[in-house]
Subunit: 716 residues, 2 copies
Amino acid sequence: MQDYHSGGFTLPGEAGYEQLTLEMARKWGADVIRDSDGTKLSSEIVDAGYRIYSTICIIRQHNAFAEAHPDSQQQVFLTSEFVMAQSDILEIEPLNGYFREQFELNTSPEAMEYWQVWDRTAGQLVPADAWEYAQGKVRIRNCVPYHDYSVSFLAWRIWEEINMYNHTTNHWTSEHLRQLDPRHPEAWAYLQQWLRTWCEENPQTNVIRLTSLFYNFVWIFGEDMRRTTRFVDWASYDFTVSPAALKAFEAEYGYALTAEDFIHQGKLQATHRPPTLAKRDYMDFIQRFVADRAKVLVDIIHEYGKQAYVFYDDSWVGMEPYGRYFSSIGFDGLIKCVFSGFECRLCAGVDVPVHELRFHPYLFPVGLGGLPTFSEGGHPEEDAMAYWMHVRRALARECVDRIGLGGYLHLTIGYPAFNDAIENMAVTFRRIRALHEAGKPAALNIRVGVLHTWGRLRSWTLSGHFHETNEHTLIHINEALSGLPVEVRFLSFEDVQAGALSEVDVLINAGREGDAWSGGSVWQTPELVAEISRFVYEGGCLIGVGEPSATDGLPTRLALARVLGVDLDRGEYACHAPWSFETAEHLPFVLPEAMPKTAGIRIMGPDTQVLSAQDGTPVMTMHAWGKGCAAYLGGFEYSLQSARMLLCLLCHMTQTDPVAAGFCEDPLVETAYYPASHMLLVMNNHDTEVEATVAYPGGKLQVKLGAQATCFCPVE
Amino acid sequence: MQDYHSGGFTLPGEAGYEQLTLEMARKWGADVIRDSDGTKLSSEIVDAGYRIYSTICIIRQHNAFAEAHPDSQQQVFLTSEFVMAQSDILEIEPLNGYFREQFELNTSPEAMEYWQVWDRTAGQLVPADAWEYAQGKVRIRNCVPYHDYSVSFLAWRIWEEINMYNHTTNHWTSEHLRQLDPRHPEAWAYLQQWLRTWCEENPQTNVIRLTSLFYNFVWIFGEDMRRTTRFVDWASYDFTVSPAALKAFEAEYGYALTAEDFIHQGKLQATHRPPTLAKRDYMDFIQRFVADRAKVLVDIIHEYGKQAYVFYDDSWVGMEPYGRYFSSIGFDGLIKCVFSGFECRLCAGVDVPVHELRFHPYLFPVGLGGLPTFSEGGHPEEDAMAYWMHVRRALARECVDRIGLGGYLHLTIGYPAFNDAIENMAVTFRRIRALHEAGKPAALNIRVGVLHTWGRLRSWTLSGHFHETNEHTLIHINEALSGLPVEVRFLSFEDVQAGALSEVDVLINAGREGDAWSGGSVWQTPELVAEISRFVYEGGCLIGVGEPSATDGLPTRLALARVLGVDLDRGEYACHAPWSFETAEHLPFVLPEAMPKTAGIRIMGPDTQVLSAQDGTPVMTMHAWGKGCAAYLGGFEYSLQSARMLLCLLCHMTQTDPVAAGFCEDPLVETAYYPASHMLLVMNNHDTEVEATVAYPGGKLQVKLGAQATCFCPVE
């Protein structure tokens, strides 16, 4: 019998709590002890025979250098507020409204080259000789009265954003940390040497856990307390910019980027929006830069006999694990913090030797949402179970190598229920891992392709955690898919035009008109529309959710309206009477009680079968198209019921029997079947004990399940 | 004392019910007796000493001529359904899905010139040599597989639409009436002669009541019972088309219209959508044609010593009463059927000698909505009172000359409550008319400009009756305005750019993105935006409702976002945190309980005062802009409460005291003050007796009002 009580667990050690550290390491079966951001392990812990992870945020711990070389700091393009001209002269203070502790104007000659002044009412660039900068203000001449003007400018970022977050949210009071741009030649030389010195001074460290790399996700603070965060995007590239980067880009690509490529009328370019072609080029440019420089650092780490793991959060821009250059860096492991199943699949699917999850909650007094965890009123064991149940179903589909926690270990004192829960999770994790090692779980013959602008680059995630992107339907779908026994891949529109539909059975497009997930104006490409029409007509399946393939300028608002059998009325159907319809009397599967509605959906004709409608608006339809079929859903909100509905829909459309992968009628009981191990994994998502019948290829299994329990049931 | 018991009332006489006709004429104080569509008055009625109206639908009563000259019938451009090519050959039956009793293909050589075949997937016209028509089908070669194709074609309209409506809805069984196109030379000669003959044969007729003129509003029927009406638009011009019209247009304008100018990707061009420039030209062209030909007919009528009134409904396309050429026709009167206050104001404001309202309900067994009126289950007196209370408040602001009824008089037998109600209404109408004749009611110093694409042409109405357009916010606002003591005018965007804002104090823009009422892409005109910004900045007021000034391509979704203080997020604000806000503690006036919400509205900054919000979305805001201010409303649904709110909003924004025009705190008690007559008109909209205090410039008046009563209160 295998020992499931140790291994694959990373414990956050804490100096001053050496005994607790070693005790919890035994309880949870840790094989690794790590430090946490801002802490240092004591020798008593380091010498206890565990492997040691040490955390480094490579660009952040160098205030002395930054002060000596202020031009080595990172930058960003910002826009001033829009200001209306009352006469032909106007003055604008560019930094008005920004958090002055985060930003400083970059008025160096090489930066001023990139400053722009815009007549935003006319949409026209103001000639450079019509404005000048002096003493914090831009003075514009020859203004058109009652037009709005703005200044786009480069600013230094003088406070590293994660440190700034901890100060402003967790009341840290230490020195503001600055961050270096590795593109700055002296900074880059300094950073390499600093890393070598660090490796030399820390021989006990086995694994350097890079708290990502160089460029933080975008996080722009405002000075007004009614909008402290002006803009936050976990996947945008605004914080990578500098005159040096722009010049290098121009030299390589043969065209120059301008401030407007970033400012984009003040909207910036959020990951949720389709990128301009220039942004695509720029992203590739930055990804190569990040990978090249990261490889140099990883090589240094290897030189010292250590391993390099990367924590996929914070300063990770340009090193996307599904990007083209990630594997070239040579990381030994990837660590991903997880709240949700999709994050587990994101981590599990990356081409890297070791995949590790950092579970939630953090060992912090309060959680990310501001509610107590390890403090009065907190129930960390309940939080942990809630996250675990999201992650568990994904782990059952595709496992990772390690799990772990983060934060301050001493906070677990007085929370024995939490400590027991983690112990149980660790054991269960190891059992699931062992099943995967013996052979893959049975899956249905359904290959799902999730179609959006970013394709593989943004596999599983959109940007950020579930709660940060949950107004976007697709993250709900990804979360549902993360625990279903189907193959999932992420396709871009270019992939589809290059023939990728031959590799999928069901194509999903889910988003809102104009966003990166629905696709926006790419749907004005006739070849794309015809290719998907062909795919379905020849027998493929299409699921559209929300405002799939929506764009303007076409005869229908949804480019795929004819295939889907529904269209979206944004007013163009004025005076066109809708088709009357009746909802289907017998549903092929159970629908969740509340199906989200997209206002304005109307069926294209009587061939569209309406499975469900709300206030006269179809919220779920089916439409045959040649040998294939298309389903439309007004929306999708993740729940176990909706995840089950999605599974049943996939099976219904592809005429697949779900039993092949193990199936329980109760949507709150999920299962995975491991034929090589002759094992059914049955997961109870009820808060109560239930009896369940699980059908699998070998027959049916009756099983009694404790509340929230994970059962390992041997079968023939 | 004036006699309010007779005059200004048109009674529908009925042959076979001569005694009833004369009795009701006395009871209701009729001075005119008219026939109704499809009926003929007997000599007993005609000779009873009343003035006589006779109804003529000039283009409809000529089946023999139409059969002898089938090419004199009216036409329309239609599009076939979209059909997907599975190979390089495709056949399409153009008329598939259309009601075959309404349409017939026009395959004459001059019509075939205008047929088009479209690759709708690629958005490309198929060359004429790649398709041919034969035996009801179009055969297309060289198709791109999986592209959708459609055929645009000319069809004869072989059944006059109002007659068709009465057959299909009211179970008429008589011969299908056809309609002639007055552009056809022989038809035109025939119609003039026919009218002369009619005048000669009907010497007793004083007034010819033209059931409009030549071209019906667009009403396209389908063959499938699940969508019998495919398209209906009370103000579109599709039914005016013919090869002859297109040739004449081309000769005059120097460019040719094509089928696509009408078909517009299958969407047609509904009045609710901004027109293309070609459509604008075409409308003007048709308006001039209609006015020219109508003048010839009116001159003939005058020649015979008769008057020509026009009934503004049915075949009225091209003769809009607020169009440029209407007054040139020389009509003696305009008759408008009214359900609502805005229709009363529409009629009252037209430049024509006599304004007459046809009240509802019709003397028909069932009403337009299909519910019983003069049949079992009907309560025509309640219906009449409901319509009356909508119309009454508008009559109090601007009166008309006459009222009347339509339909079959014998149906009133057994409905004495209805007959009494009409008698009372007639008396009240005459009293209100007398007040107007003595001097205008007091109005506030507030000039409201309603801004939309059509401007003056579509004053008060959008297209059709309230219940036909009530998904459009603006009709609710027009209905509210119709009874408020303010000056109202309707401005186009061209008017604004030509300086019309100097004539208004408050500008209202209310609509949905892309519709004719909001304005659509016209908002990409910087001069327009700057002009409104100037207007408000210098002290004007702006009210935006729904999605005012919404368009894409600008820094903000609402072009006037900076002035309004709110913007509409269609996804572009992804990652941009919203401003937090608190709703105002003290409201300057009472808001209706449920304020409609536009999803995605966010304030532009802390200067925007949120008066009301729903689920975190502002539904009413105020924003100071220079010396002026702007209000935003998430929507507007007409009720007396919301009408009162609008009045209070107008007064609040312009700092006007509503008492100047008479004011009662109770929103269900409306008032009008006639200084010349020293009279307060107090209208109780409660279903119960109430006591009300009305403030007016001379003081305050306490008055007890019966349920729904209209009180005439003499004051100092």
